[in-house]
């Protein structure tokens, strides 16, 4: 019996890593979503728009660049599944939620910076993604940046 487990040690190690990735990754994801929902509600008063122009009716007294960035890593489970997806095609659901969370987190951090600067409106918001190299589990940086407008109250 022990012999059997020793001979198939690779398989069990893989199974353990994938399981840990699944359980831990899923619980972290759930917690992150919960925290995102709370903070998004708190920051509803800071408005971020992608428009390039100052919207009509807004008379800014000044502007500053604000940005928010986050680096996220995939987990063993997501990477494992995505690897097989590469062979068959189709949506990579695990990566979709991962990157959605990263974008929302980056936008929240941007809004927080804007609010700290005393602005309530950010225009020209863009997202930028950079792949962080050097690991077999992919990680990416998602960065949001924009122009925060100071408006007299």
């Amino acid at each position: 019996m022990l012999d059997f487990f020793l001979q198939t040690a690779n398989l069990w190690l893989l199974l353990a890593l994938v399981s840990v990735g699944y359980v831990v990754g899923r619980s972290l994801e759930k917690r992150h979503y919960a925290s995102l929902r709370v903070r998004e509600r708190e920051l509803l008063d800071v408005v971020a728009l992608s428009t390039r122009y100052v919207p009509p009716g807004v008379a800014p007294s000044g502007a500053t660049l604000v940005s928010g960035s986050v680096v996220v890593s995939s987990d063993y489970f997501k990477t494992f599944v995505a690897g097989f997806r590469n062979l068959f095609g189709g949506p990579m659901r695990g990566y979709e939620t991962l990157l959605e969370r990263a974008r929302r987190e980056a936008l929240l951090r941007l809004k927080l910076r804007a609010r700290e600067a005393g602005a309530r409106l950010v225009i020209g918001v863009r997202f930028h993604t950079t792949r962080v190299a050097g690991s077999s589990t992919p990680s990416v940086e998602v960065m949001a940046f924009g122009t925060a407008l100071f408006t007299p109250a």
Binding site: F4, Q7, N10, L11, P55, P56, G57, R85
Partner: protein, 284 residues
Amino acid sequence: MTEPPAPRLENRLPAEDLGGPEEHPLRELAWLLLATLAVVLVVTLLLAWSARWLAPRVPFSVELALAEKLMPVPARPTPRQASLQALAERVAAQMALAPDMVLVVSDDPSPLVNAYATVGGRIRVFEGLLARVESEEALAALLAHEIAHVKHRHVAANLGRGLAVSLVLGVVSTDAGAAAQGLLGDAAGLALLGYSREQEAEADAEALRAMAALHGHAGGLLALFETLGRQEGAGAGGLELLRTHPLTTSRLQAIEADATARGIPLRGALSPLPDDLRVAPHKP
């Protein structure tokens, strides 16, 4: 003319779902995994089967040329090598080898209890095995088994199969990622083990026929497997599915059944090994 009212600027809370079809991650993993494994197994078995078909059709001279490059024959064989070679040729005379097949038998100072046949009819017997073999008939049976691998071109088939499978795995696992690489490799390896056991059984059957022709009984072959079985000890059971060779007990049974069916006596006189083939048992 009045100014139009200033537009309302707002952010709304993001949607609670991403849109698109929702699939449970474990369900997704399950079907992706099963589909990939099925593809890899089918391709591996197909390649393995083609290699077996192709191997006997590749001229033996190709193997010989490769062997020359990999391991040149020593100019002056030692007395032990000469004895091994002579015994192998006596055995081979009973095995109807193709005329262009040559055998080169040599010994290896390693204490491993093993022997192998490789490209170009090269056969290597480890000293650890020589130290344990008790009779000339058992050693002849061992050589007959290895010569059978050469005769049936198992070496060429394995070489071609290994190359083809690693090529396919290389292509597939580049896309599937590092984690999947090991898994797919293991799956392909497992599929190939079936061929390996089949070859061993074929070599055993061939060795039995050679022993019957040379000595008139299967005593040498049975003595060899009894020695190997003792060497493995009591703990060497386990799953046959995970092994390159059939279990020694099942090999013994198969040989006994085959010998009985062919009317070959199971036991007969065994003669001691000649002096230059005898090796003092290695210290553990």
